[in-house]
């Protein structure tokens, strides 16, 4: 498949807010599908239960919000209102359940709205521990995962064995390695992997079965190796703050047009969430428990324990990717991203890394101010960055 064909397929999936691809998968396999919201759930468990995990990222700029707006005040972010809009208009009926990660108070309360509005459907709040001691938070989390397996096994009729879980962990490890390769290539030669293409490939990973997504990534990476693309005099930047509500594709393209090579980002962190190989001594569930406890992620909804100053990872990532500056791009009214922004700005200032900040929503249509801001930032990095 050519790059163009791959990108077109991914763009069709990006626009598939009514989940036609999931419907097709269910018809083909007679399996069950369960949605999940950002930022992190252990997808491996769903996969091992024979359930298709479906990342729900709202309606973007494609859905007119009527019913969703009636459920949330104006000062609540956009994602939950578009998710509810889709659900209340029957567009998520194809899902047999929903998982709500402990990302923020809004997503937490959305789990309650789901229970009230869709009482017949599975709705679980995935309360990952903020205590990272294996004997404390680990024990609690393991129990939570066991309960989740019970629910999903009842739904799908398949209780996974340890081997099933190991196989699922393996499938996602393969996928993550390919995603990391995509990021490595972007950092090394960003003109070969435009951000908008990478973004569409990542979005496809939220919808497709993992094996299919891995095949798509392989095809893309192989095609990119073959195709020559011209380097442009753009600034290399890291984008941070978009871990939950996603920017519209038009905004990502705007950043590119403004002269930014986005060499790293926190779009859909679940796609890069490391899970170690299960040890021979322990069981596969143990690897998933450790994946949360031992993560080095600076996910805004994950407590940064003492000795892990906020922003340290961002500084490290910026330097490692060769970026010249950071764009702090937070969704409107996103408490986790906005509350930690001053800490990140302070860490970046100490490290003498330039940054600029802007707000967006998943349906942002006024892109000119962002283009001007990002363009000015990119120009300033090019003009004075190495002075």
């Amino acid at each position: 498949m050519s790059i163009q064909a791959i990108v077109e397929r991914c763009e069709a999936l990006y626009e598939d807010v009514e989940l036609a691809a999931v419907r097709a998968w269910k018809e083909r396999t007679q399996g069950k599908a369960v949605g999940y919201l950002p930022a992190y759930v252990p997808r491996e468990i769903l996969h091992a239960c024979g359930v298709l995990p479906v990342g729900i990222l709202g309606g973007g700029d494609q859905v007119e919000i009527v019913r969703g707006d009636a459920c949330f005040q104006s000062y609540i972010c956009h994602l939950p209102r578009s998710v509810l809009e889709l659900a209340l208009s029957g567009k998520l009926d194809v899902l047999d359940g929903m998982l709500f990660p402990s990302t923020c108070d809004v997503i937490r309360n959305l789990s309650g709205i789901w229970k009230l509005r869709f009482p017949g459907k599975l709705a679980r709040y995935v309360d990952v521990p903020q205590n990272f001691d294996p004997a404390v938070g680990g024990v609690f989390y393991r129990r939570l995962l066991e309960d989740l397996i019970d629910d999903l096994a009842e739904l799908s009729g398949h209780r996974p064995s340890d081997d099933d879980l190991r196989a699922s962990i393996g499938a996602y490890q393969t996928n993550r390695a390919l995603v990391e390769e995509l990021y490595r290539l972007r950092a090394q030669a960003p003109w070969r992997v435009p951000t908008s293409e990478a973004y569409l490939l990542l979005r496809a990973g939220m919808l497709l079965p993992v094996e299919e997504h891995s095949a798509l990534l392989r095809d893309y990476l192989a095609e990119v190796e073959r195709e020559e693309r011209r380097e442009q005099d753009n600034a290399r930047i890291v984008l941070r703050g978009s871990f939950c509500e996603q920017p519209p594709l038009t905004l990502v393209r705007t950043l590119e047009r403004a002269g930014c090579y986005v060499v790293d980002d926190d779009f859909m962190p679940i796609l890069r969430w490391g899970v170690g190989r299960p040890s021979d001594a322990g069981d596969a569930l143990d690897a998933l428990v450790r994946a949360w406890l031992e993560s080095e992620s600076e996910l805004p909804s994950r407590f940064a324990a003492d000795g892990q100053p906020k922003g340290a990872r961002l500084v490290e990532k910026t330097r490692r990717s060769g970026a010249e500056g950071v764009l702090l791009a937070a969704p409107n009214f996103c408490d986790p991203a906005l509350l930690e922004r001053p800490m990140l700005q302070e860490a970046l200032a100490e490290a003498e890394i330039p940054c600029t900040a802007f707000l967006y929503a998943e349906n942002t249509g006024q892109l000119q101010p962002i283009r001007e801001q990002a363009g000015t930032f990119a120009d300033s990095l090019k003009l004075w960055g190495e002075a």
């Binding site: 009636a70 459920c71 949330f72 005040q73 000062y75 609540i76 939950p80 402990s102 923020c104 108070d105 809004v106 937490r108 309360n109 959305l110 789990s111 309650g112 709205i113 229970k115 009230l116 509005r117 679980r124 709040y125 309360d127 521990p129 903020q130 205590n131 001691d133 004997a135 404390v136 938070g137 024990v139 609690f140 129990r143 805004p300 909804s301 407590f303 940064a304 324990a305 003492d306 100053p309 906020k310 937070a330 409107n332 009214f333 408490d335 986790p336 906005l338 509350l339 930690e340 922004r341 001053p342 800490m343 700005q345 302070e346």
Partner: protein, 429 residues
């Protein structure tokens, strides 16, 4: 509005308690007492007092600043320092106060924390708040993650998880900063006193089942919860205060009197309401007046349950000190799922024979606010009572529009009056 404010003896006593507390805080360092910043929901006051540590509650400082008309200036200071306009105004008020010298409500400087006890109950913002304070104060954080009651029940696994964190994370860090070992017997004594005070607080709140209600369970209620939700739970001062308060309320009830407002006793209760959500603090008295001018009495509220749902039966149990603290944290109102909140408010409407209910949606607090419009419709459906919805904020004065709120409330009261055919004119008293 009257300049002079009518105060009951319990209110005077409470003011003395709070002033004494801030004086103790001001002297904490010279008295060699450790200072622990923590939050109201899931506060572990008995545990801190068992170590002779003094708690500082940033939300209380913020609301005190709101009531003293200082919060606007503090919020502006935090926004100048890079904090977004769209985040919790408690956080910004606290940070602004810190940037301006950390002077408390009594004019004395608040001590810096030796430990930040991040009791993470029902609010994600708490995590960010203490990450921000840690960056400023360079002191350790003890994280206490309290799982959410997503299915409406507290499971043994949840209690075990919280109790284990107390044992392995919180107590060791308190021992380190206070240089003392935990005295379990002392903790048990404190918990036993909490229980006594909690009984009296519940009796006060349940007095609102009477007609007329001798209390306002929201506007007066925030004063009633003060000592128990802050630095006094477990102390003899709290036991004495709640005994005094209960006697005062029971005396009013025996005489068939209504609640005490800043302008005197409210006679001829006209509307009985349940209120969901925190009050606005920057215009607290003005907001209250909009109710008592219409002779509307709040007979039950959810905000007065953020520091514990005692009226649903919970009491601290001295025989299981860590487990009881865990259960307390798990049971606070904002840790309840939306279906459980809907059920609680619907029960209040029925149990307290309310004419309706009001949701005060505050911009700052997603933990409270996200989903309240859905709750409104659910509660209306379950209780067949009309609800009202207003929007204000906690301590950001920019988000309190007196005319909008008043208009909305007046329309609502008119509607209730039509429904119940309540006389429009105030009878001569």
């Amino acid at each position: 509005m009257k300049a002079s404010v009518v105060k009951e003896p319990s209110m005077v006593r409470q003011k003395e308690l709070i002033e004494g507390y801030f004086h103790r805080l001001a002297r904490a360092k010279e008295d060699g007492r450790a200072v622990v910043y923590t939050f109201v929901p899931g506060n572990l006051t008995e545990l801190l007092l068992a170590f002779d540590a003094l708690p500082v509650l940033p939300e209380i400082n913020a609301l005190q600043s709101g009531m003293r008309k200082l919060s606007g200036e503090y919020i502006a200071e935090a926004e100048r320092a890079g904090h977004s306009e769209d985040v919790c105004s408690y956080v910004k008020c606290d940070i602004g106060m810190m940037l301006k010298g950390n002077v408390g409500p009594t004019g004395e400087k608040l001590p810096e924390p030796d430990l930040l006890l991040l009791s993470c109950t029902g609010c994600f913002t708490f995590i960010k708040w203490f990450e921000l304070l840690r960056q400023r104060y360079r002191c350790p954080v003890a994280m206490l993650h309290v799982p959410y009651q997503e299915s409406g029940v507290v499971t043994p696994a949840m209690v075990a998880y919280v109790a284990k964190q107390l044992e392995t994370e919180v107590v060791p860090k308190l021992e380190r900063v206070t240089k003392k070992r935990l005295d379990v017997a002392r903790l048990q004594e404190l918990l036993a006193r909490s229980r006594t005070a909690e009984d009296d607080l519940v009796a006060v709140f349940e007095s609102a089942r009477r007609r007329p209600s001798p209390i306002d369970a929201y506007f007066s209620g925030v004063y009633y919860i003060g000592p128990l939700f802050t630095a006094f739970r477990g102390t003899q001062e709290a036991v004495d205060f709640y005994r005094l308060l209960r006697a005062e309320v029971e005396a009013r009830a025996a005489l068939g009197q209504g609640p005490v407002t800043p302008e005197g006793a409210l006679e001829d209760e006209r509307f009985r309401l349940v209120v969901e959500g925190p009050p606005n603090w920057t215009h607290f008295r003005e907001f209250w007046k909009m109710f008592y001018d219409e002779r509307a009495v709040v007979v039950a509220s959810t905000y007065t349950k953020v520091g514990g749902l005692y009226d649903r039966g919970f009491r601290h149990d001295p025989s299981r000190p860590l487990e009881t603290l865990a259960e307390y944290c798990l049971g606070c109102y904002t840790n309840l799922s939306l279906p459980a909140r809907v059920e609680l408010i619907s029960d209040y409407v029925r149990d307290y024979q309310a004419d309706g209910f009001l949701i005060n949606s505050v911009k700052s607090c997603d933990s409270f606010s996200a989903g309240q419009l859905v709750m409104l419709r659910e509660i209306e459906e379950r209780t067949s009572r009309a609800g009202a919805f207003i929007e204000t904020d906690l301590v950001d004065p920019r988000y309190f529009s007196a005319s909008n709120v008043k208009t909305r409330l007046e329309s609502y009261f008119q509607m209730l009056a039509q429904e119940r055919r309540v006389p429009e004119t105030v009878p001569a008293s």
